[in-house]
């Protein structure tokens, strides 16, 4: 059985210093389901991911925290260890190096570290890895372009939009998932929230 009390503690703990850590995690939907979460990490400074906000889909298996959380990039990202097709991640602490002393926060911080330190020799995406090894400047340019295209547009000013809609009385998790579904368009989100 999923350790609900631990997960709740983890959520509070992770979001306590999200402004400093650059990672946060919330419920995925408004139905209170603790086994499906939505994480965000900000792209590390000094990397092609700088300035981007990357959404991570987080699913907790019933054996959590004895089994690792299942994490996948929702935001498209160009990185040797992350599938450019479906966001699948190659990171050992999410597999056989998991320990229950690790947390959702440390897992997200590790993803942030992975963005800073690609390991092309152990790739998830062979095409990206090959480019990284053979034409590094092109890799950087592509990764930067993907950050601009996919990790910025929807997230520009997203926090202000969230705050505005929450002040109108909608629950935050619902606001976020709705904004997500309409690519950050505030008016469309409001329409959806009012009609739903």
């Amino acid at each position: 059985m999923l350790d609900v009390s631990r997960v709740q503690k983890e959520l509070a703990d992770c979001n306590k210093d999200k402004a400093i850590s650059g990672v946060s995690i919330d419920l995925h939907g408004g139905d209170g389901d603790l086994s499906h979460l939505a994480g965000t990490i900000s792209g590390p400074v000094g990397t092609p991911y700088e300035g981007g906000t990357f959404r991570i889909d987080v699913r907790l298996p019933s054996g959590y925290p004895f089994e690792p959380p299942k994490m996948q990039f929702v935001t498209k990202v160009w990185h040797p260890n992350i599938s450019s097709q479906n966001g699948a991640i190659c990171l050992d602490i999410l597999k056989d190096q998991w320990s229950p002393a690790l947390t959702l926060k440390t897992a997200l911080l590790s993803l942030q570290a992975l963005l800073s330190a690609p390991e092309p020799d152990d790739p998830q995406d062979a095409v990206v890895a090959q480019q990284y090894l053979r034409d590094y400047p092109m890799f950087v340019a592509t990764a930067r372009y993907w950050t601009e295209t996919f990790a910025k547009r929807a997230s520009v000013g997203i926090e202000e939009k969230v705050q505005k809609l929450v002040e109108m009385g909608f629950p935050e998790a619902l606001v976020r998932s709705t904004l997500d579904s309409v690519n950050g368009d505030e008016n469309m989100a409001l329409e959806k929230l009012c009609s739903g």
Partner: protein, 218 residues
């Protein structure tokens, strides 16, 4: 190229504990107290240095990540611990440059037990689990060191007077918290030190039994 000093300044704020008369690094995310004696008489001795290292922020969060693993609380006598060794070499030691090499090393350090030939995913031997002592948590265990007073599996406090299971490394857990893990791996969740392989041939492992009980595996 930034100096090791400036990197260290960023990574590990240095404080002087008036109680134990030595420089210490407080445990983050708790109220400021000495990690050794829990005294609150701390003096900030961090030298404020402008940090030109573009990766300083990165080092910072990897460092925080490692501290979440409770490395700051590891007993210095445990010099065989590869994680501790790595922290000593790469964080407290001489990170002089600012390239991704160090970052890879930092991350590699977390990847212990990943080399070919090391045992993976082995449950603890039943005899080793049976041999784990159940201790009554004493006041001194709770008040010294911080990390012993905390079960890293459920992230709840382990209070003085409570019964807890103590691993050979000294880390304590609620019995119900550590058993499901030992059914999967024979290591301490915090420091990854392995239980002795006392299981002789024919000795069952705790894995099968627990897995049948609550289906943790799978």
């Amino acid at each position: 190229m930034s100096s090791a000093g400036s990197v260290r300044g960023t990574l590990a704020p240095s404080y002087f504990c008036r109680d134990c008369n030595r420089s210490v690094t407080p445990i983050p995310a708790t109220q400021l107290s000495c990690p050794l004696c829990h005294g609150g008489l701390l003096e900030d001795t961090t030298i404020p240095v402008p940090n030109p290292n573009p990766h300083a922020q990165l080092f910072d969060f990897i460092f925080r990540f490692l501290q979440d693993l409770d490395l700051s609380n590891l007993n210095p006598e445990r010099s065989h611990d590869p994680l501790l060794q790595f922290v000593r070499d790469h964080i407290n030691g001489s990170i002089a440059g600012s390239g991704s090499v160090e970052i890879s090393v930092l991350i590699d350090g977390v990847r212990i037990g990943n080399e070919p030939g090391t045992h993976r995913a082995l449950p603890a031997a039943q005899s080793a689990v049976d041999a784990l002592p159940e201790i009554v948590v004493s006041e001194s265990l709770v008040s010294v060191g911080g990390h012993e007073a905390w079960c890293s599996v459920c992230r709840d406090e382990v209070r003085a007077g409570a019964i807890a299971t103590q691993m050979p490394c000294g880390h304590v857990y609620h019995r119900d918290c550590i058993l499901p893990w030992l059914a999967l791996r024979n290591s301490c969740p915090v420091c990854r030190r392995e239980l002795p392989a006392t299981g002789a041939v024919g000795d069952g492992n705790v894995g099968q039994q627990i897995a049948e009980l609550d289906g943790v595996i799978g």
